[in-house]
Structures are given as structure tokens and as C-alpha cells.
């Protein structure tokens, strides 16, 4: 049940969007309030579908909502 290398701006975006509550956001994207709390505390990495729903509800791209909290892993196709 450890943390995730992905950070997010969900808490800030909630406040920028009229200070919507965790419960309101949870209902908007079809999850529970506990999951919103876990996301904000970086204890859970969402599925791609949930990440895209969260980005959609804030009118942002996924990259605007989620980010690597440390340096991203060094990945290459070569």
C-alpha cells in the first residue's frame, strides 16, 4: 500500500474550480471520496481511464494534472 512516483495537482485544481469538494469530484468521475483522498496524498496511481476522466473534468490534459514527482525514468526505444 506504498506511495506512487506520480504526483498530481488534483487538490489545487479542485480549489481553482470553485473549491469543489472531494465528494463532488468523486461523484463526477465515478469513484469514491476515499479514492480522491488517496490520489491527493499520492498513495494511489489511477488507471489511464480515471486519469483521463480527471483531466477532462478539470478541462486540462493528463500532463497538466499528473507529473513525475522525481526525475522520470530513463527510457528509450534504442
Amino acid at each position: 500500500m506504498s506511495g506512487t512516483p506520480l504526483g498530481n495537482h488534483i487538490r489545487r485544481l479542485r480549489f481553482e474550480h470553485g473549491e469543489i469538494s472531494q465528494e463532488t469530484l468523486a461523484q463526477a468521475v465515478g469513484i469514491t471520496r476515499q479514492t480522491v483522498i488517496a490520489l491527493e496524498q499520492r498513495r494511489y496511481a489511477p488507471s489511464l481511464e480515471l486519469a483521463m476522466k480527471l483531466a477532462l473534468v478539470f478541462g486540462r490534459s493528463v500532463d497538466d494534472v499528473f507529473f513525475w514527482s522525481d526525475a522520470p525514468p530513463d527510457l528509450s526505444l534504442e
Binding site: 500500500m1 498513495r43 494511489y44
Partner: protein
């Protein structure tokens, strides 16, 4: 976490008490256990309905009922098998009593679940992720217990183990399944306990 341990201890105590139920009492251990599990289900529903700050979600409610009931069933079975001894047979008074009591407790678990469950079930992908952690622990625990049982039966046959009847071995196998299931529910409840602790932290 402390609540999990308290419920586990209470359920275990109930199981042991039912296994040492006096024979002369007007009703048997099974109906008594069934009644107590139903009362526990009603009490849990009342507590959860009054909790407006951080009430458990639908999967967590189910887990509490399963954890409490299966702990009571497991300890009752373990203590009963211990009391009856290795030469346990099905078609005896003790065998019949164990069957009636165990199935009464299973019925009590079903009734407690029906009473305490969330009337409007709601779960999401994180609940599924937590459930998968529970399944992982259940399967690993079950595999370990089965391997241990195989080794003990095959390589370390003490006099007590040699005397084990087939029904006794079968019930030990059932006990292993219940214990593995219990470990899975405990892992999931611990994950939810972390959620509740995090929800209480200031934003």
C-alpha cells in the same frame, strides 16, 4: 488498526466459547452463534449509519462482516477439532454437533451480511485494486498452508498425526481455506484503515 484487532479478538473469543458450549443448555452453540452474528450485524449497521464523518464504503462493510464471521467460524472449528481429537468421525454425536454448529454459523454470516451490507453498493477501481491485494495474500497463504500440511502429513507423522482420521484431515483442509480467506480480508481491512487514518489528517 486497533478496531480490526478488537473485532478479531471478539470473534475469536466467540468461536472458542461456542466450541466449549455446555451440552445441557436449552439451545445449542450453533443457534446461539447464529443469533450473536445477527445481533453483531444489526449493531454494525447502526454504528455505520450514525457515522457521518468517515463511514465505511460498500466493500469495506462486506469485509468487516466476512472477517468477523470467518474468524468466529475458524476458531470454533479449530477448538472443536482440538476438543474432539484426531479420531474424529462424521457419524457420531460430536460430528453431528460440529456440522450443525458450523452451518448455523455460516447461515449467521449470511444473515449478518444481508443486514449490514450497504443498501446502495458503490465501489471503484481502487476497491478492485485493494481486493486484488487481498486475493494475492489469500492465495499465497493458502499455498503455504497446503504445503505445510503436505509436509507435516508426509514427512513428520507423529503419533497424533498418524491417528488423524480422514474427516479430521478434511476439516483441517477446510480450516486452511478459511484462514487464508481471513488473511485476505485482514489485508484489505488494513488498507481501508490506512484510508480512514489519512482522511482524518488535516488537508
Amino acid at each position: 488498526m486497533i478496531r480490526i484487532l478488537i473485532v478479531l479478538a471478539l470473534a475469536g473469543g466467540l468461536g472458542f466459547s461456542l466450541a466449549s458450549w455446555p451440552l445441557g443448555w436449552p439451545f445449542g452453540a450453533g443457534p446461539a452463534g447464529l443469533g450473536l452474528l445477527v445481533v453483531a450485524g444489526v449493531a454494525a449497521r447502526g454504528i455505520w449509519n450514525r457515522d457521518s464523518t468517515s463511514p465505511p464504503g460498500s466493500p469495506e462493510r462486506t469485509l468487516w462482516v466476512l472477517m468477523g464471521s470467518s474468524a468466529a467460524i475458524a476458531t470454533h472449528l479449530l477448538a472443536s477439532l482440538w476438543r474432539i481429537g484426531p479420531e474424529f468421525e462424521l457419524n457420531t454425536d460430536a460430528g453431528h454437533r460440529l456440522g450443525i454448529d458450523s452451518w448455523s454459523l455460516v447461515l449467521g454470516m449470511g444473515l449478518a451480511y444481508a443486514i449490514a451490507r450497504d443498501p446502495n453498493p458503490r465501489s471503484d477501481e481502487r476497491d478492485a485494486w485493494i481486493a486484488s491485494r487481498g486475493t494475492h495474500w489469500t492465495s499465497n497463504t493458502l499455498a503455504s498452508l497446503v504445503l505445510l500440511m503436505a509436509v507435516v502429513l508426509a514427512f513428520e507423522p507423529t503419533e497424533e498425526i498418524r491417528r488423524l482420521s480422514r474427516p479430521a484431515i478434511a476439516h483441517v483442509a477446510i480450516l486452511c481455506v478459511i484462514l487464508a480467506w481471513l488473511v485476505g480480508t485482514l489485508v484489505q481491512l488494513y488498507a481501508y484503515a490506512l484510508d480512514h487514518a489519512a482522511a482524518r489528517e488535516p488537508a
